[in-house]
Every structure is written in structure tokens, then in C-alpha cells.
């Protein structure tokens, strides 16, 4: 009834509604302004991508069209960073994505509650550690001298490898530490989905003579499919955004194989102050990343629809 009268009075109705909700809007005002200032105002800075800001002081800045993007397309450092980003992300995806699912499957088999709880408590702890702490721990363990690395090498009678300084090893280290830090955390998300499966399904399957593997495949995995897809979308959305870990763990010695788009943008924009060019890099990344999110979302929708019917 109320909505009907509001509809007839149009704008005034909305005005009256807003007046009625003035207290809610007052509460909302400050955080909203905050959000607009720090999340939306920066978007206007994107215009620098089309200027020569950084090559010349601010007073002489001119619009130069797409020159920065042209320069970016021709830059071998940019393409190197682009290639590294894709390679590292794909390695993380291929190795790091299935592991939490497998962990959740094993964890689900454990019926001893205290054991299960202890394992869980331990394996998702590293998720809350900073990259600096994680990087430091592995840096010291894998250091070429005064380390476990040196101890093992001595035992094997070989020269210790300086893993963090080896451009052929750094990607592996990034993937390994990422899995070490985050697999346990992702696993509980899957485990939560697995625990909500109706046990009657397994009982029925057992009576029908389904093997353990058949049960895992047809009941467990197919029941958590939507969770898997959501997690996959999150992962794909992050593909071009890997940053903090590389910034912390990769030194200039290994840039050839570990420099990623974001660290490249950081170096050109913050260290070299080539604002215009670095902004072009950031914009390029944002557009592709956004496209990727939309695309994966679309694909997930298609798969889900197929699953529903």
C-alpha cells in the first residue's frame, strides 16, 4: 500500500522516503565520503596515462595521446614482466589450486576429532603471516651459509645453492611458499563445503557397492563443484595482480624471471617517477584484469546453468 502511494507521487515520494531515512543516511555519510575519496578519486589520476608526466615537470605536462601505450608495447622489460606474471600465476594455479582440494578430501577422512583439529589449527596458521615473515623464514633456512640448506648440502657433499638469488629457482620458490602459506586456509573452505554434504548419500552409495574412489568422485567432488568454481574465479581474477610476495621476496638479481607487471609499475612509477608511463602500465593491467573477471564469471555462469538443469 505504501509503495503504491509512493509510486504515484514519484520524486516527492522518494524525497519523503529519504527524509524518513535521514538518520540512516547520516550514519552512512562519513564512510561513504571516505570511500568515494579513497576509492573513486584516485580513478581521475588515470588521465596521467595519456600525458608525459614524469618525463617533464608537472608545469610542462601535455597530453600525448597513446604514446605511453605505444612505448609499453615496444618495451622488452614490460613484456618480460607480463610473461613472468602469466607464467608464475599459471604455475601457482596448476600446482596450488588442486592441493587444497586434495587436503580437504584427506582431512575429511580423519574421524579422530582432536587429531583433525590439531592438523587444521597448524595448517592454516601461515595464512595469517606476512610475506615478510614467510620470506624471511625461508630465506634463512635456504641461505647458502649457516643454514639448513648448508647443512644438507654438506651432508650430500655438494656446494650449497643460493636459491633466492637463482633466476632459475625464484619462480619455484614463489610457488612453493605460496602453497605453504595458503593451501591450508583454502582447504578449510572446501572442508566446510564437504561437511555440509548429506551423509545419506554416502550410505546409499555404499549399499549400492560404490568404491571409495567412486564416492569421492561422484558425491564429494560433484557436491562441492560450485565452491570450486567460486574459488577458481577468485584465483583467475588475481592472475595479473600478484605483487606483495614478489616485492618482498625477489631481489633485482632475479628480475629476469621474477619481475611482474606490478613490480614493474612500482619501479617505473615510484622509483623512477615516470608517472605517465607507469599509469599506462597500471591501466593496461586493470583493463585486462577486469576483462578476465567478466569472462570467468560468464563461463562459471554457463557451467552452473548446465549443472542446474
Amino acid at each position: 500500500m505504501i509503495t503504491a502511494t509512493n509510486k504515484t507521487s514519484g520524486l516527492r515520494g522518494i524525497g519523503r522516503k529519504i527524509y524518513k531515512q535521514r538518520q540512516l543516511f547520516l550514519i552512512l555519510a562519513i564512510p561513504l565520503i571516505f570511500y568515494l575519496v579513497f576509492e573513486y578519486l584516485p580513478m581521475f589520476k588515470v588521465r596521467w596515462a595519456f600525458t608525459n608526466y614524469g618525463d617533464v615537470p608537472l608545469s610542462q605536462v601535455e597530453y600525448i595521446g597513446l604514446d605511453n601505450f605505444e612505448r609499453l608495447m615496444k618495451s622488452s622489460s614490460f613484456w618480460n614482466a607480463f610473461r613472468n606474471t602469466i607464467i608464475i600465476s599459471l604455475q601457482k594455479l596448476i600446482i596450488g589450486f588442486p592441493i587444497p582440494i586434495i587436503i580437504a578430501l584427506f582431512l575429511n577422512e580423519i574421524t579422530h576429532n582432536a587429531y583433525k583439529k590439531t592438523v587444521q589449527t597448524i595448517i592454516y596458521f601461515p595464512h595469517f603471516l606476512s610475506w615478510v615473515v614467510i620470506g624471511s623464514i625461508w630465506f634463512l633456512i635456504l641461505a647458502p651459509q649457516n643454514s639448513i640448506n648448508a647443512q644438507i648440502s654438506g651432508f650430500l657433499g655438494i656446494d650449497p645453492v643460493y636459491w633466492f638469488a637463482g633466476k632459475e629457482y625464484i619462480r619455484g620458490l614463489l610457488v612453493m611458499t605460496d602453497v605453504w602459506a595458503s593451501a591450508g586456509y583454502s582447504a578449510i573452505v572446501y572442508l566446510a563445503a564437504i561437511t555440509s554434504i548429506d551423509p545419506a548419500l554416502y550410505e546409499a552409495a555404499t549399499i549400492d557397492g560404490a568404491s571409495k574412489m567412486q564416492q569421492i568422485w561422484h558425491i564429494t567432488l560433484s557436491s562441492i563443484r560450485s565452491t570450486v568454481i567460486i574459488m577458481l574465479i577468485f584465483q583467475l581474477g588475481k592472475i595479473l595482480n600478484i605483487f606483495d610476495q614478489v616485492l618482498v621476496m625477489a631481489s633485482p638479481v632475479v628480475y629476469e624471471t621474477a619481475d611482474v607487471i606490478q613490480t614493474y609499475a612500482y619501479r617505473t612509477g615510484i622509483s623512477d617517477m615516470q608517472i605517465g608511463y607507469s599509469m599506462a602500465v597500471s591501466l593496461f593491467k586493470a583493463v585486462i584484469s577486469f576483462g578476465l573477471v567478466l569472462l570467468t564469471n560468464k563461463i562459471a555462469h554457463l557451467i552452473d546453468e548446465e549443472g542446474v538443469f
Binding site: 522518494i14 522516503k17 531515512q21 540512516l24 550514519i27 552512512l28 564512510p31 571516505f34 570511500y35 579513497f38 576509492e39 578519486l41 580513478m43 589520476k45 588515470v46 587436503i103 584427506f106 582431512l107 577422512e109 580423519i110 574421524t111 587429531y115 590439531t118 592438523v119 597448524i122 595448517i123 596458521f125 601461515p126 595469517f128 606476512s130 610475506w131 615478510v132 615473515v133 624471511s136 623464514i137 630465506f139 634463512l140 633456512i141 651459509q145 649457516n146 643454514s147 639448513i148 647443512q151 605453504w180 591450508g184 566446510a192 550410505e203 565452491t227 567460486i230 595482480n241 605483487f243 618482498v248 606490478q262 615510484i270 599509469m279 597500471s282 591501466l283 586493470a286 584484469s289 577486469f290
Partner: protein, 285 residues
């Protein structure tokens, strides 16, 4: 579980295998942490693999605490994190509550406004330029305000508040409660789990942050523990002839542990709430 079904030998074997493999997994996470931890108490400089200290001393901790190079960044981190959590919580609650009310005019548009920055992420540079324009560089305020509202935490809290029945809020209004009063004495007491989750996420996030400090802070007196730890461990050139290598090593190990103590303290609480938090967060609103 209601019907006891006899397990086949294969199932039995699979289960035993699960126990073993999960045990190994837990050890791969635990052992590196224990190894570093025992070194901070060891009197012996021997870096070979152990999980119990050789001898026992608190000297490394004493040295680190008394050393201004680490004590000061530690206090900076503590100060920034405390302020950040308070500011973030106030802003996030005041943002999430109106958004969670279905009757709010323009709710759809506002929700859209909230999600866009998460989908279209321009990275650090535009925000850096803004912070610079606002004259916040080299001040702690740059570590507190620009990142105060996390979109993810906002959505987690909003989705939780949506589950509070409208009738409850309606009846408070009929009793003459103002919105702020309703929020404070009806809504918030019902949301302690969600508030704890979001608060702890903010806390850990701020304590662990590295990039913001690298971007916004140049003044070494204002550096936080994470930045100092990274320099200490990963940029130390280790000229063994010039400095006391062992002392440097001990300081490195100990600072790592000092940097994770606050996380360790809140971890039991985190654990209690965050599974719930993930589940709330994953429900699309």
C-alpha cells in the same frame, strides 16, 4: 553416520593413509616455525636442524627489545595497527549497517558503488598520487585512512547484518529508538561474531602490511616492523668480516618471532571466528 557400515579393507587403508599424509603436512608447516623459534632461545650458534634449543637464553630477546632499531618500529606498528582497527571498525560498521537495510533508498546503486573498485583494480599508483596530493606522505595517517575501508570486510559485515530480522529493528524503532541507538544496542550485540572476524582481519592486515609503508613512508623513524624485518633479513649483505655474523643472525631470528607474536596472540580468536567469516563472505549479497 547413523547406520554403521563395515569398512572395506581399501577404505581402511585410505583412512590410515589420510592420517599419515595429514601428519606430514602439519609437520611441513610446523617444523620451519619451530626451527626458527628454538634458535631465538639457543645459546649455541649452530644452525643445523633442531626443534629444541641448545641451552636456553633470553639474551636475544633482551638485545632486540633494547635495540632502538627494532623496538621503535615495533611500537610504530603497534600504534598504527591500533588506530587503524578503531578507525576501520567505526567506518565499516557505519557503512555496512545502512547497506544491510532492505528499505534503504538507492541501496542497489550503493552496493554497486561498493563492488566496482574491487573488480576494476587500478593498483597502487593512483592512490599513491592521491595520498601525495593530500599531503599525507611520511605521516602515520597515510597508513591509517587510505585503506581504512576494505571492500571485502565491508561485504562480509553487510551480509551478516542482513541476516538480522527486520522485525527486531522495526520494533526498536516503534519503541522510539533512534537509528544510532538501534545500531548500538540491538544490532551490534547480536553481531559479535561478525565484528570479531572483521576486526581481527583488519588487525592482522594492518600488522602485516608492507606495501603501504614502502609507498608512503620515507622517514626511517616511522618505519614499521615488517619493513625493518625485510631489510634486516633479505637486504643484509652479511659481510662476515665487518660485523659479528652470529649477532646479526640472532637478531634476524628473534625479530621474525617478534613480528609474529601479535598474530600468534590473536590466532585462537581468529580461528574461532574466521571459518564463519569466510562462509558469510562467500555468500553473494
Amino acid at each position: 553416520m547413523s547406520i554403521a557400515i563395515k569398512k572395506t579393507a581399501g577404505e581402511r587403508a585410505f583412512q590410515i593413509f589420510s592420517y599419515i599424509i595429514m601428519g606430514i603436512l602439519a609437520l611441513t608447516v610446523l617444523l620451519p616455525l619451530l626451527y626458527i623459534l628454538q634458535l631465538t632461545f639457543s645459546t649455541s650458534p649452530d644452525p643445523s636442524f633442531r626443534i629444541l634449543p641448545q641451552g636456553f637464553t633470553l639474551d636475544h630477546y633482551r638485545y632486540v627489545i633494547e635495540n632502538d632499531l627494532i623496538a621503535r618500529p615495533f611500537l610504530n606498528s603497534l600504534f598504527v595497527t591500533s588506530c587503524y582497527v578503531v578507525v576501520s571498525m567505526v567506518l565499516t560498521v557505519c557503512f555496512a549497517y545502512p547497506l544491510s537495510r532492505t528499505e534503504l533508498v538507492g541501496r542497489k546503486f550503493l552496493n554497486f558503488l561498493v563492488v566496482i573498485p574491487m573488480l576494476f583494480s587500478l593498483g597502487f599508483l593512483p592512490k599513491y598520487l592521491l595520498v601525495k596530493d593530500l599531503g599525507m606522505l611520511d605521516s602515520f595517517s597515510s597508513l591509517i585512512f587510505p585503506g581504512a575501508i576494505s571492500t571485502f570486510n565491508l561485504i562480509v559485515l553487510r551480509n551478516f547484518l542482513q541476516t538480522i530480522p527486520d522485525s527486531l529493528i522495526e520494533s526498536a524503532r516503534l519503541d522510539g529508538c533512534s537509528e544510532l541507538r538501534t545500531l548500538w544496542s540491538i544490532v551490534l550485540p547480536l553481531s559479535t561474531a561478525a565484528l570479531a572476524t572483521v576486526g581481527l582481519f583488519y588487525m592482522v592486515g594492518s600488522w602485516n602490511s608492507y606495501l603501504d609503508v614502502m609507498l608512503y613512508i620515507n622517514d626511517p623513524n616511522k618505519h614499521t616492523l615488517q619493513v625493518v624485518l625485510r631489510t634486516l633479513v633479505m637486504e643484509n649483505t652479511m659481510d662476515s668480516t665487518a660485523v659479528d655474523t652470529q649477532l646479526v643472525k640472532n637478531v634476524q631470528y628473534t625479530t621474525i618471532i617478534v613480528a609474529l607474536i601479535p598474530v600468534m596472540i590473536v590466532y585462537p580468536f581468529l580461528q574461532k571466528y574466521f571459518v564463519k567469516g569466510i562462509m558469510i563472505g562467500s555468500v553473494k549479497g
